[in-house]
């Protein structure tokens, strides 16, 4: 539901249904049940070639207000429908790299419009041979605009293609999320 800049009342103002619907109902909805938010999950692997930034593929949303995720149109992105300051975050779960060199790097970042990183985690020695690794981009505050595309990109340099493991209902998988926390600045 649309956010309306709260009205300043003056003595003698008539209190109308429109006033109450905008300044009370709509804004309360916006701050509670319909606060813009989206949390994506994936049930398919994403193949990541060595030394190539790759967008993670998502298959569904556990939370989505206002249709921010449309898998048929683009299964890699959250589309921002309302401007404001958002909290953003993400996570990736790397495939076991097997016999590939230990101590190679893994990186994950949240991108705005596919060019501007909002949040990033980079671990030069994340990978130990034979071990799956999860990587978390912890929450960040950042102003976003209408129609911004938010994606999760991953990178590795094991020397071979690695998968980002999917969510399998028994353990964690990749996720990407946004939460509106305040008005546009």
């Amino acid at each position: 539901m649309t956010w309306y800049t709260p009205k300043t009342w003056t003595s003698g103002d008539l209190l109308t249904a429109t006033d109450m619907n905008r300044n009370n109902r709509s804004n309360l909805y916006h701050l509670s049940a319909q606060k813009p938010r989206c949390h994506l999950l994936s049930q398919v692997p994403t193949a990541v070639e060595t030394e190539a930034w790759t967008e993670v593929l998502f298959t569904g949303a556990s939370v989505d207000t206002g249709g921010m995720f449309d898998a048929a149109a683009d299964n890699t992105m959250i589309a921002i429908k309302e401007a404001g300051v958002f909290m953003v975050g993400g996570q990736a779960w790397w495939q076991n790299a097997g016999a590939t060199p230990a101590n190679t790097s893994r990186s994950v970042k949240v991108q705005r419009n596919r060019t501007n990183p909002i949040a990033r985690d980079h671990q030069p020695r994340l990978q130990t041979a034979g071990v799956q690794q999860r990587q978390v981009v912890r929450p960040m505050l950042w102003p976003l605009s209408v129609n911004d595309a938010i994606t999760l990109e991953v990178w590795q340099n094991s020397g071979t293609t690695l998968n980002i493991r999917p969510f399998d209902f028994t353990d964690y998988g990749p996720n990407l999320w946004v939460l509106w926390v305040g008005e546009e600045i």
Partner: protein
């Protein structure tokens, strides 16, 4: 401006413009972190690259300077390099900090969020991570504060990367509840 406990209405109460402004407009602005009258929310970034000496727990901003991406409600105290709950702004806050380190392969890297008495959260890793982050919830009274601190044991000075990019060294806080 501050959060006002919502009024309980009684039969026969006259609804005034003051009521509407205080209980509808101002509290809505507060919850939406509006630039006018919104609950405190700030995001800072280290303005320039800054060295930290080895084995010295250092308040970020005492070396280098925090600059504001935004500061709603005067949360950032630029004199003390803290995020300080302003008058009327006590409550529960979510805080986060991140350091982007110069690469070095030896020793630990550590960042924490500290309220002057208790270390509220800590991330410590051996072997030269590039980016470290930590996040916590904490209750602050008006005037209460949080600082971001960093330490490293590379054996010499080590640089924290600064600049107005969200992936470099940052510190943020946001009021989330009374």
């Amino acid at each position: 401006m501050a959060w006002t406990t919502p009024k309980t209405w009684a039969s026969g109460d006259v609804l005034s413009s003051s009521d509407m402004n205080l209980h509808i407009r101002d509290n809505t602005r507060w919850l939406a972190h509006s630039s006018t009258g919104g609950a405190p929310m700030a995001r800072l970034y280290l303005s320039d690259d800054s060295d930290i000496a080895t084995a010295t727990n250092t308040t970020i901003g005492s070396t280098g300077t925090w600059a504001e991406k935004f500061d709603i409600g005067g949360l950032h105290d630029s004199t003390s390099q803290r995020l300080t709950a302003p008058a009327g702004g006590g409550g529960v806050y979510l805080f986060g900090a991140q350091v982007y380190w110069e690469w070095a392969s030896t020793g630990y890297r550590q960042i924490d969020l500290y309220d002057g008495t208790v270390r509220q959260s800590l991330d410590r890793v051996n072997g030269g991570p590039a980016i470290q982050q930590t996040v916590t919830l904490a209750r602050l009274s008006s005037g209460g504060y949080m600082v971001a601190r960093a330490a490293q044991a590379s054996g010499g000075n080590l640089e924290m990367k600064g600049g107005n990019s969200p992936i470099l060294t940052t510190f943020w806080g946001v009021w989330v509840g009374v």
